[in-house]
């Protein structure tokens, strides 16, 4: 919007070191150079720990670089952070909303903080409210908004004083597909209609594909820069689709392919497996017939990452020596389950059944009632009505020893942060009554299977995100449960961690473990045997991934995806019931 001759952001040779509490030095950024031109949308893409957040915090003047130069809007950020901060909008991963204030009060507060005049407010407020569709909720407490609405409010608060440059740090983490789509519409509107310059960091690769320019980061270094096409091209001639043998779930083929040295990446897609070969002429098991397809951004990204990092490690695993399979029986049965909180019905007559050895997915937007259903299944919350059976009993009423058959991984990391990795494992081994040789064996098993040995002495609160997830799973599997509950295990995880997670779940299912997983990554439904889609506490659709996909509208330019189907199902249900677009999270 200005005729500034210099780019909006210009950085050369930026380096930043951090010291962990143990005194260990971590390189967050290593010789990073990048430019972001005025106008348009640029993306910082990379797995967790790539340095995306550190880089954005440097640009916002919240940290200073150890080496290199960084100018933002033509100003050296190290010299004069204040005058940069006066002109940029910065939205951190967890935006500082005041949960006890209403939507309007939060907006007023940020307008006051930035000294926005009353006249300006008259002009911008209706625009912001209209854009974010928060108008009808102006009086609602921010703490009672759903995750997606909170992010929209955070964005609105960042935009109250019309910045010249907008820095967004992973704004869509933990946000369901519908809200994610709405957020993106707002961002694209800002870029196209208002000519705003936006830099967004993300680990969603489909989001990166929508940006004009991308900067791919890994381990504090820039791996590649350029328009998304240039990244996609890396996988040219290497992307294929493979069909699993009849009657076998795609995930089994996918897990096998991931372990194949000739394969860089594999994910289940539409009942088949999409794979990227290490090179165009690499050998892949002859038994599989390959159909060449156009590469997409994710393929190029994974190929790039694979080259840069040792990501080829297999996460296939085995539960232990006593695992047995007895498929066909009913592991979990839920009939007309209801849960009310006052007048609010969080779970509304939900029924489903899960067979032993199945991977069962609960899909739905934030506040759909997934977590509430989970808490009832695990005996943490009494049901208002209906019946539920887990391994044949209602865990809330059954003897405590019945819980021996169940493992539970909560949405939030919930192990003891002060205790070290090994101490956590020892504690949960004791909690599940393991002692003596058996206890030693199981802890050794967990350390080996989840590759935790190197970090054994680190307080678990200081573990990097991916390792926390592993530790949480290890703790839940120590006692070899028959049924494993995983609440949003991949929320906020990057593509690498998610592949690793699903590979583990696939191997566990092979051994007869029943896994019940909630997720709002729709493509992850492809790993499940069956899924249900929940919204507003009700089951909207139920079936195999193929059956769910059939709900998606016909599309000319691509095969219908799980996400298309999900959005179609939810929108149709909301039209029928005339429900508001968003609800507060339960």
């Amino acid at each position: 919007m200005t005729e500034n001759p210099r780019p909006a952001i210009e950085g050369h040779g930026i380096g930043k070191l951090f010291k962990r509490s143990g005194g260990e030095i971590v390189t967050a950024l290593d010789d990073v150079s990048l430019t972001v031109e005025h106008g348009g949308l640029a993306a910082l893409v990379g797995p967790d720990g790539a340095g995306k957040t550190t880089l954005i915090r440097l640009m916002a003047g919240l940290l200073t670089a150890d080496t290199g130069t960084l100018t933002v809007l033509g100003i050296d950020i190290a010299q004069d952070p204040q005058s940069v901060q006066d002109r940029i909008g910065y939205m951190p991963q967890k935006f500082g909303l005041y949960e006890d204030l209403s939507v309007q009060e939060n907006l007023d507060l940020y307008a006051d903080l930035h000294g926005v005049t009353v006249e300006e407010r008259k002009r911008t407020y209706p625009q912001l409210m209209d854009m974010t569709a928060l108008g009808p909720f102006a009086k609602r407490q921010a703490g009672r908004l759903s995750g997606g609405m909170k992010q929209k409010l955070g964005l609105a608060c960042t935009l109250v004083r019309a910045p010249d440059l907008l820095l967004l740090d992973e704004p869509t983490v933990g946000v369901d597909p519908l809200s994610r789509r709405e957020l993106w519409e707002i961002i694209l509107h800002l870029v196209r209609e208002q000519g705003l310059t936006v830099l967004i960091s993300t680990s969603y690769l489909d989001e990166a594909e929508r940006c004009a320019r991308t900067v791919v980061m890994h381990d504090g270094k820039v791996l590649a820069k350029g328009p998304p096409d240039s990244i996609t091209k890396i996988a040219a001639g290497r992307a294929f689709l493979a069909s699993p043998p009849d009657g076998q779930p795609a995930r089994q083929l996918q897990a096998r392919l991931l372990d194949d040295p000739g394969v860089t990446d594999a994910v289940p897609q539409g009942g088949r497996v999409r794979l990227v070969k290490t090179s165009a002429d690499a050998d892949v098991p002859a038994a599989v017939e390959l159909v060449a397809v156009e590469p997409r951004f994710e393929d190029g990204f994974m190929a790039l990452l694979h080259k840069a990092a040792d990501t080829g490690k297999s996460a296939s695993m085995s539960l232990g020596q006593t695992a047995k399979r007895h498929n066909g029986e009913t592991a979990v049965e839920v009939d007309n389950l209801v849960r009310k909180f006052g007048t609010f019905t969080a779970v509304d007559h939900v029924s489903f059944a899960v067979k032993t050895g199945e991977i069962f997915g609960l899909l739905g937007p934030n506040g759909a009632g997934k977590t509430t259903t989970f808490r009832m299944l695990c005996g943490l919350l009494p049901a208002s009505d209906g019946t539920l059976r887990v391994a044949g009993v209602d865990l809330r009423k059954a003897r405590a020893s019945a819980r021996q058959r169940v493992g539970y991984v909560a949405q939030k990391f919930s192990l003891y942060g002060q205790l070290s990795v090994i101490q956590n494992l020892e504690f949960f081994a004791g909690a599940y009554g393991l002692s003596g040789r058996r206890r030693k064996e199981r802890i050794a098993w967990a350390m080996e299977q989840f590759e935790l040995a190197e970090l054994a002495k680190l307080p678990s609160g200081q573990l990097p995100g991916g390792y926390r997830q592993r530790l949480a799973m290890a703790a839940a599997l120590l006692h070899e449960p028959e049924i494993l509950f995983l609440d949003e295990p991949t929320s906020g995880a990057d593509p690498l961690a998610r592949r690793e997670f699903w590979q583990r779940i696939t191997s566990l299912a092979e051994e007869g473990v029943t896994a019940i997983v909630t997720t709002h990554f729709m493509e992850e439904a492809e790993y499940c045997d069956r899924v249900i889609i929940l919204d507003a506490g009700q089951v909207l659709a139920q079936g195999t991934p193929a059956e769910i996909r059939a709900h998606a509208p016909e599309s000319e330019d691509h095969e219908p995806t799980m996400e298309d189907a999900f959005i179609a199902v939810v929108e149709e249900a909301r039209r029928e019931h005339g429900r508001p677009g968003e609800r507060s999270a339960a």
């Binding site: 919350l381 003891y416 909690a431 009554g433």
Partner: protein, 372 residues
């Protein structure tokens, strides 16, 4: 049974590790009891020192000079003014220049010599009734000493009745002798209540409590796993204060340590019970803090630490019966100063055990059944 013990042992180990691995909580366990015992030991005293007083001596005789010399030499009072007219009295008291004014009438010596009753007037600042009362009783003591000596010197018969006061167990009626043994209970309650009230609340906030509830651990085992380490920590804190009383304030210990601890253990159990009960009710750490503060104030007021329970209205006296600190104060003071034996303390011990026996099971039940 073996499984159950194993689970409780895991829980206890986890609690101790979680506390000891965090440098901040290590400090919080041991420094505040030390600081608080010094603070209370020095700051909370009713003893008078250098209380300012003024003199309006209309007699100016040898007798009045003798009386005033006794006042000035007592160490308790310090003369800040000698006034010449009665109108100055009001000003001195109003401006808080003097805590009391001693007025000696014009015919003081003449009346004494004649064997008549000679009055002196004492005007005290009643705005702080405690201090004024103490000051007046000191003056009374000085005056009766003067009386006795005057009669002896002038060959007069002794007054028909004299009271001679002897305070037992605390000969000089020093406040610190009363206050510091009382602190063993008070500070321990404060610390234990905070520690336990926060413990479950923290786990609820961190989500670790859910993780506990999905394991085969039973609520009663969680309760034991929380109560055992908290009780030990409470006893350690009580010991720190006891050591301060012994080694720093050097208050003579009349009783037996075995008896003292036999009384302290049920007290700490009752405090842990109340703390866990609070913790099982609240949803987060903020509420836990608030609740414990709301409870602490009445517990301390009703305990008899500062004001005797016998002075309270009946209703409040009944309320003191559910205050574990009330019993703990009785035990610590009596064992400390009076050397009371275990048999004399049964009446204090069983109510505390009862408090523990009610609060702990309720807390355990609430762990699972509190609606979230």
């Amino acid at each position: 049974m073996r499984d159950s013990l194993l689970r409780v042992a895991s829980l206890v180990r986890k609690e101790v590790l979680a506390l000891m691995r965090d440098p901040r909580s290590r400090v919080i366990l041991f420094v505040p009891p030390l600081l608080q015992s010094f603070l209370f030991g020095y700051a909370a005293t009713f003893d008078l020192n250098h209380a300012p007083y003024a003199v309006y001596d209309e007699d100016r005789s040898a007798a009045s000079a003798d009386l005033l010399a006794r006042m000035d030499g007592s160490g308790v009072f310090e003369r800040v003014a000698t006034i010449q007219q009665s109108s100055d009295i009001a000003r001195l008291i109003d401006d808080r220049d003097a805590l009391l004014v001693l007025r000696i009438g014009p015919d003081f010596e003449r009346k004494l010599s004649a064997g008549q009753q000679a009055d002196i007037q004492l005007i005290a600042d009643g705005r702080n009734s405690n201090t004024a009362g103490t000051a007046v009783s000191y003056v009374t003591a000085i005056v009766s000493g003067f009386n006795a000596d005057w009669r002896a010197a002038h060959d007069m018969p002794d007054p028909p009745v004299t009271t001679s006061v002897r305070a037992w167990y605390n000969g000089n009626l020093e406040t610190s002798w009363n206050m510091i043994p009382g602190l063993i209970g008070t500070i321990t309650l404060l610390q234990v209540l905070m520690l336990t009230a926060l413990s479950v609340a923290r786990e609820r906030e961190d989500g670790t409590f859910d993780q506990l509830l999905v394991t085969p651990i039973r609520p009663s085992e969680i309760m034991l796993g929380k109560a055992l380490p908290s009780t030990v920590i409470g006893l350690i804190q009580a010991t720190i204060i006891l050591l301060v009383a012994q080694l720093w304030f050097k208050i003579p210990f009349a009783g037996s340590f075995v008896t003292l601890y036999a009384g302290l253990i049920p007290f700490v159990i009752a405090s842990v019970g109340i703390g866990l009960f609070v913790s099982s009710l609240v949803a987060n750490m903020q509420q836990a803090m608030l609740f414990s503060f709301i409870l602490l104030m009445p517990f301390i007021l009703l305990s008899g630490l500062a004001t005797p329970i016998a002075n309270m209205p009946d209703v409040f006296q009944w309320m003191t019966l559910i205050d574990p600190l009330r019993y703990a104060l009785d035990i610590t003071r009596r064992v400390y100063l009076e050397g009371a034996g275990l048999g004399q303390l049964i009446g204090d011990i069983w109510p505390m055990l009862l408090i523990g026996a009610i609060t702990l099971p309720i807390a355990a039940w609430m762990f699972r059944n509190r609606l979230t």
